[in-house]
C-alpha cells in the first residue's frame, strides 16, 4: 500500500484526519490497475470472512463445501497478492516481464485452483 505521509502540523492530528489523509494519498499515488487489484482482494477477504461466519453460526456439516469455498478465497487472495507484487512498477528490480505476462500467470493459476476446488467441493 502507499506509504503514509507524516502530518504537517506538530500536534497529533485526530485519527479520523489521519485516515482521510491515508485514503487521499492512496487514491492519488496508487495506479488504477493496482487499485482494481486491491478492490478484488478486499472482495475476497470479505467473502472468506462471511463464509467463516456462516460456519460459526450453523456448523461445519457440508465440510467439503466450506473447506473448498474458503480455500478458493484464500488461494485467489494469494494469487491476487502475487499479481499485485508483479504488476507494481515500483517493484521492477531486474525483473523483465510485462504485467500482461503476470496476468496470464494469474489466470492460469486461478484455473488450476478452481479445478482443484471443484474436485473437492463434493
Amino acid at each position: 500500500m502507499a506509504s503514509k505521509k507524516p502530518a504537517v502540523s506538530s500536534a497529533a492530528p485526530p485519527p479520523a484526519a489521519l485516515l482521510s489523509q491515508l485514503w487521499t494519498n492512496y487514491r492519488a499515488e496508487t495506479g488504477v490497475r493496482l487499485q482494481l487489484v486491491d478492490a478484488y482482494m478486499v472482495f475476497l477477504l470479505l467473502t472468506g470472512i462471511l463464509q467463516f461466519v456462516h460456519v460459526v453460526l450453523v456448523g461445519t456439516f457440508p465440510y467439503n463445501a466450506f473447506i473448498s469455498g474458503f480455500a478458493s478465497t484464500v488461494g485467489a487472495f494469494v494469487f491476487a497478492a502475487a499479481l499485485r507484487v508483479q504488476t507494481n512498477p515500483k517493484n521492477r528490480q531486474g525483473r523483465d516481464f510485462s504485467p500482461e505476462r503476470a496476468f496470464a500467470d494469474f489466470i492460469f493459476c486461478n484455473l488450476v485452483l478452481f479445478l482443484a476446488v471443484t474436485n473437492f467441493i463434493g
Partner: protein, 345 residues
C-alpha cells in the same frame, strides 16, 4: 472411449470362450477315464450304497456283557429296539462288553446284507444333566466289514469321569450310514454307575478339578449345535443437522454481497470497461479469450454436477489451446497499447 470398451469386451469374450472350450475338453477326457475305471472295478465292487432305494438298518445278536471283578460274567441279550429290562450296575474294576451284528435291509425285503456302519458310537449321558460338569462320555465302536460291531469298556479307564458324577447314566448306541438309510439311535436303558465320589481332600483331585474348571471357562458354554446369530442390520446414522432453507438462501445472498462491494470499489477506482481495442481482430481475440475463461468456469460447473475427471481434463485441454492462442493475441494487444500510452507521455 467406446472403441476401447468394445475392444475390452471382445478380449473378455475371447478369454471366456477359451476357458469354456478347455473345461469341456478336460471333462470329456475325465469321463473317458472314469468309464474305463468303472468297467475294471465292476467285478470287485462292494455293495453299492447310493443307487439303491430306501433301506433300513437291522441289528441282531445284540448282547451286553458285564463282568464284575472276581465274578462270572452276566450276559444280557437285547432285541432292538427294546431297552434293558433292569438297570445295569457298573462298579470299579468291572468290564462292559457290547456286541451286535449290523445288516442293511432294502425296503420290502426280508434279507439284507452285512454292513459296516460309517459312524458307530456308544454314548453315556448322565441322567441328571444338571449335575454333570463334564457332559457325555462318547466312545467309538470297533467294526469289521462283515457287520460285526463291538466295544469292550474297562470301567477303571474312566474312573475319573465316573467319580466326578456317579449315578445313573442313559446309554445310547448311535449308528450312521451313508446313503438313503435311516440312522439309528438305540437307547439301551439306564446304567447305574456305582463309583465312589471324588475325594475332595485329595490334592491331585482338587488340582484336576481346578484345571478342568479353568479349561471350561476358556471354552465357554457348551454349544448344543450351531445357531443362527442375530441378523446384522445396517444402522443408518442420523441425518446431519441442516439449517432451514430460508436461512441458507439468505446467507448465500450475504456471502454474495461482497460482489456489490467489488463493483462499487472498481467504479470508485476508475475502471474503464469502455477501453475497447480498436481493431476488429483484437476485439475478436478479447472476446474469445473472455468467453474461453467463462467456458472454463462452465466446464468446472459441469465437472461438479455430471462430468468425470478424465472427461473434464480432455475437454479442458481443447479449451486451453483456444484460450492460450486468443489470450496471447489479446494480452499482447493490451501490452502494445500500454507501451504506446507511456511513449506518448
Amino acid at each position: 472411449m467406446a472403441r476401447i470398451r468394445l475392444l475390452r469386451a471382445c478380449a473378455l469374450l475371447f478369454a471366456l470362450l477359451c476357458f469354456i472350450v478347455s473345461v469341456t475338453e478336460a471333462a470329456k477326457s475325465k469321463d473317458a477315464k472314469s468309464v474305463k475305471k468303472v468297467k475294471k472295478a465292476k467285478k470287485a465292487a462292494e455293495p453299492s450304497v447310493d443307487v439303491e432305494g430306501p433301506r433300513t438298518l437291522k441289528l441282531s445278536d445284540f448282547t451286553v456283557t458285564v463282568r464284575h471283578s472276581g465274578e462270572e460274567a452276566t450276559t444280557h441279550t437285547l432285541a432292538y429296539p427294546k431297552p434293558l429290562a433292569k438297570p445295569l450296575t457298573v462298579r470299579p474294576g468291572d468290564s462292559l462288553r457290547l456286541a451286535f451284528q449290523l445288516d442293511v435291509v432294502p425296503e420290502g425285503k426280508a434279507e439284507g446284507k452285512a454292513l459296516r456302519a460309517h459312524q458307530a458310537f456308544i454314548v453315556f449321558r448322565p441322567a441328571n444333566s444338571n449335575a454333570s460338569p463334564d457332559g457325555e462320555l462318547v466312545q467309538v465302536l470297533e467294526s469289521t466289514p462283515n457287520g460285526k460291531h463291538r466295544i469292550e469298556l474297562i470301567a477303571n479307564r474312566f474312573a475319573k469321569y465316573f467319580s466326578r458324577q456317579p449315578g445313573d447314566f442313559n446309554v445310547d448306541v448311535l449308528l450312521g450310514v451313508f446313503g438313503n438309510v435311516q440312522p439309528v439311535r438305540y437307547p439301551l436303558g439306564t446304567f447305574h454307575v456305582d463309583f465312589p465320589p471324588a475325594d475332595l481332600t485329595d490334592r491331585t483331585v482338587v488340582e484336576d478339578l481346578a484345571k478342568r474348571a479353568k479349561q471350561r471357562a476358556l471354552e465357554g458354554p457348551a454349544d448344543d449345535g450351531f445357531m443362527a446369530l442375530p441378523e446384522i442390520e445396517h444402522q443408518f446414522r442420523p441425518d446431519d443437522k441442516m439449517p432451514p432453507v430460508t436461512f441458507s438462501l439468505g446467507f448465500s445472498a450475504v456471502v454474495l454481497s461482497p460482489w456489490f462491494v467489488l463493483v462499487t470499489l472498481w467504479k470508485l477506482a476508475g475502471a474503464n470497461p469502455a477501453n475497447l481495442p480498436s481493431s476488429p481482430v483484437a476485439l475478436l481475440a478479447h472476446g474469445t479469450f473472455l468467453s474461453c475463461l467463462a467456458g472454463f468456469l462452465g466446464l468446472f460447473y459441469l465437472y461438479w454436477t455430471q462430468l468425470r475427471l478424465l472427461q473434464t481434463i480432455s475437454y479442458g485441454a481443447i479449451l486451453a489451446v483456444v484460450t492460450v492462442l486468443s489470450g496471447r493475441v489479446a494480452l499482447s494487444d493490451i501490452a502494445h497499447r500500454r507501451v504506446k500510452a507511456t511513449k506518448k507521455e
